[in-house]
Amino acid sequence: MLIGKFKKFKKQHFESQKSTYSLIVLIMAFFILLVPAVRFLFFQNYFKENASFYNTHIASSFGRDEKIDSTVYGGRELHYNPYHYFLYISGKIFQLENSSIFIPIILGFFSALLFYNILEKFKVDSNTTVLAILIFLVSPTFIYVFSASTPLCLIFFLGLLGVFLFIQESKLLFFLSLPVFSTLSLFGFAVSLTIFAITIILNQYFRKSSGQFYSTLAVIIVFALVGGIFLKSTIVFQNPENSNFVKEFFSDFGGNVGFSIFTVILAFFGVVMLWKNKEKNYLAFLLFFILLFASFADSFFNIFLIIPFSLLASYAIISISRSQWEITVIKNLTILVIFCGIIFSSISYYNNHLKSAPSQDMITALKFLNEKANKAYTIFSDEKNGFLIEYYGGTVFADTLFSKERLSDEKTIYYSRKVEVTKKILDKYHVGYILIDKNMREKIWVSEDQGLLFLLKNSDSFRKIYNIDSVEVWEYLGK
């Protein structure tokens, strides 16, 4: 009787502890994801990431059932991915712009909860779980993925949802994981391959019947092929920059989807500490290292690494705090420095993220162009501004998805001082307007007398029609 009561009390206590932790996770996620929402609602009523403009624009094209993107001069075949369908459908209910802002935030919120539940299912102890989620939530990768409207947020959420459903005992929940994995596979081979590997590893820990296991793998393969052959989905999540993997990998060096250097160091410690169990987890370790090397080649894989990184870093901190140190003061100070390092890195990232382009001036200039410009003509600007111009209804000369040939013409326009050469290319692409912003002035030209800037000032073929502090629009009169 007494034992029964004790067990009941223990169970109740455990349940209440569980719900407290879930609440903590929700509150943390809420506050971290609140910032982009507050920014959009009260300060800057536009997207922050260029990729958000692109994905929202593509989702709107889906609504018009377009096969060719006509906002790029010469047109371009449109490749939709499941995120665009999802955005379009929710856009029909809540408006596309609102969906683009709030869907990533909502998915981030649920991803945090799913991550918590998955760790619980893996029987990770509660302190490590809460700490892992804290590291996960404040990581620049999480902030980026769930504050920009890119397919990454859906991939991440579906990945966690799929894993969560797959590891449940219930057959119904397992079968629900199949449509999730199949949707994920439609995102392309890189995602499919990673999910495929994750499924194999999960099966090591949560034995499924061979029927269930192989059917899951078959679904992934079939849908990956369908996605690869018919959808040819393009995952656009950032402007490709000419940067090295160190910069992309560490947010402290400016990587958008990078990791805080402290998290990486702690994860390294975590690997060292867990290395003694490598026989038990050799497949998980193998996948971790493969993803690590893959992320050096393409920062897209960083989204898969943030989970093991958070977990390993958390394990390292917990191990440090539980270990017996000769000098307790140093131990406490070390933990303090670790927390400060992780949190300051995130604050700094958030700060830079909020300050990043596009500026309000740019948005105003684009709205001006949308209202006043003749839509029949192309707008020439740097390819990095391409997605923004497309979003605001202009036909753009080039964006970052363009081939080298067109970008080579772009370079000629930038640097040629011979008006005939420039005019020939402008005519070739039916250019009617030229948009120049502060970034272009700083990065492309070094003086006012160079290339296009020289021509704009000195040739009668151009007329300035708009000028704010950092953005100017010129009309090409030779059109």
Partner: protein
């Protein structure tokens, strides 16, 4: 009584070092090294406003500085009691001379031999590269180097007395706020851990804890300080954004012969011998610690990730510590032989050898360094500009003269030797080189216009830097008016390019 005598001897070495440094330092009223005047400007700004000058309108005609300011605050404090120029000379040399105390303490801790420690202390006061690069400059590492060795000493002593752990942590904290050489302290300690592991020696838990904490603390602080620079330059921040053409001047390759001269013949060879002995014969933790630092510094110098004057200074001082271990062995051996009665003469001989191979080269290099101190002609030209040019004028000079333009001339420069956070440093340097070396004013004028240059300084430094004998563009007298004609020439740039039509 004995202790007092020891103190007196080390005190005498300190006074000797300080006195020679001061004597040489006061041979000129000015300071060597362009950085000195940057530091003096910062100290003056702290005195007047209480804060360093992080946003400067003059350097590069407007830029942001990133640097740890503790050295400047200390100098600013002392400048409340005496003139700034004297404070800088005295304080810098006093800090640098303090190294003899720390090297003595470290050597004594390792050898427990008074005489060998005294001789090491003497040699440390006169490591030629350290002596000549700090005796007449306002270099922040004159404070950082002694602090570095004090932290090293505390690390060694922490095994005996736990209080040293806290002193070590405080010193590390202070060092972080003084100079970025603190990174090399951590690299050295990590090398030490590696050596201990390789030699299968027992690792002290307390030491590991100290290393872990200080590594994380330093890493965090470096990220806090240099966050913006990291975002701007990425990993290349190590080379401080120095233009490719002159990076060899700052991070130059160091050959073995130069190392021997700059470190001192005796510390170099006997230090290396002790490393050999430690590697193959005796394996003592305290010596392995020094060897860890020697290895890490040697690799850093070889990879050119540390400025040679700093790298060789630290390396030289580490080798001096190893020298003390070698001398201890020699003295102990002599004690056992018949020549022990000549011990005094042997010590005298070693001391004379140190005088010949460390003190005399230090003085020789210092005298040579005095030639690099800006002369009164140069300073007068800069001062002349202050009184004869418009307040917002932009003055073009070489990178090495940039801080002189801002300090003495109080005018905007186009370039100086602090390249951090300058996005177009490479391009600026190339443009300036074109201006100085071009034969045509039509080439130079657009570039002068680009940086809004009003005045152009042609000095011995510009001749040396750009390997020219004359400023050819100045022959076009319609564009360049000679307004100051002494050893230094100052031209006023008169022409503006109205975009010529190529279209």
């Amino acid at each position: 009584m004995r202790l007092k005598k020891e103190h007196m001897i080390v005190g005498a070495i300190l006074i000797l070092t300080f006195a020679i440094r001061l004597y040489l330092s006061f041979q000129t009223s000015y300071f060597a090294g362009d950085d000195s005047y940057f530091n003096i400007r910062q100290i003056e700004h702290i005195r007047s406003s209480g804060f360093p000058l992080f946003k400067d309108d003059l350097s590069y005609s407007g830029r942001v500085f990133i640097f740890p300011p503790v050295y400047h605050y200390i100098a600013a404090f002392f400048s409340l009691f005496m003139p700034l120029e004297i404070v800088v000379k005295i304080v810098t040399n006093l800090f640098a001379s303090a190294i003899v105390i720390f090297v003595f303490l470290i050597s004594f801790h390792i050898t427990r031999n008074f005489m060998s420690s005294v001789l090491a202390s003497l040699a440390s006061g006169f490591v030629p590269i350290f002596f000549s690069s700090t005796f007449t400059s306002s270099a922040t590492y004159s404070l950082a180097v002694p602090l570095f060795f004090f932290a090293f000493y505390c690390f060694l002593k922490s095994e005996e007395n736990r209080n040293y752990v806290y002193v070590f942590l405080t010193t590390i904290f202070l060092l972080v706020l003084v100079h970025s050489i603190v990174i090399f302290l951590i690299i050295g300690l990590l090398f030490y851990l590696l050596l201990i592991k390789l030699e299968h020696l027992k690792q002290s838990k307390q030491e590991i804890e100290m290393i872990i904490f200080s590594s994380l603390l330093i890493l965090w602080f470096q990220f806090l300080f240099y966050k913006k620079a990291l975002l701007t330059h990425g990993i290349t921040i190590v080379w401080q954004n120095i233009p490719a053409e002159i990076i060899n001047t700052f991070f130059r390759e160091t050959n073995l012969l130069e190392m021997v001269y700059q470190i001192g013949l005796i510390p170099f060879f006997f230090g290396i011998y002790v490393i050999y002995r430690t590697t193959f014969e005796q394996k003592r933790k305290s010596i392995l610690l020094v060897v860890g630092f020697v290895l890490s510094l040697g690799i850093s110098i070889w990879l050119r990730i540390i400025k040679p004057e700093i790298g060789l200074t630290l390396l030289g001082l580490m080798l001096v510590i190893l020298l003390s271990d070698y001398l201890k062995g020699i003295f102990e051996y002599i004690e056992k032989t018949r020549i022990s009665k000549f011990k005094f003469f042997i010590i005298l001989f070693v001391a004379l050898a140190i005088v010949a191979t460390s003190i005399l080269p230090s003085i020789y290099y210092s005298m040579k360094e005095l030639d690099n101190v800006p002369g009164s002609e140069e300073i007068n030209a800069m001062k002349w500009m202050k009184s004869h040019t418009a307040e917002n004028a932009v003055v073009l000079a070489t990178a090495e003269e940039g801080h002189l333009v801002t300090y003495f001339g109080n005018r905007k420069n186009v370039i100086d030797s602090n390249f951090l956070m300058i996005p177009d440093a490479q391009e600026r340097y190339e443009d300036i080189k074109t201006i100085y070396t071009s034969s045509y004013s039509t080439v130079a004028t657009p570039l002068l216009n680009k940086y809004d240059v009003n005045y152009l300084i042609f000095s011995e430094k510009s001749k040396k830097d750009f390997e020219i004998n004359e400023l050819k563009i100045a022959q076009d007298t319609t564009c360049f008016n000679l307004i100051y004609n002494k050893t230094i020439l100052i031209y006023k740039s008169l022409c503006k390019v109205i975009a010529y039509r190529e279209i």
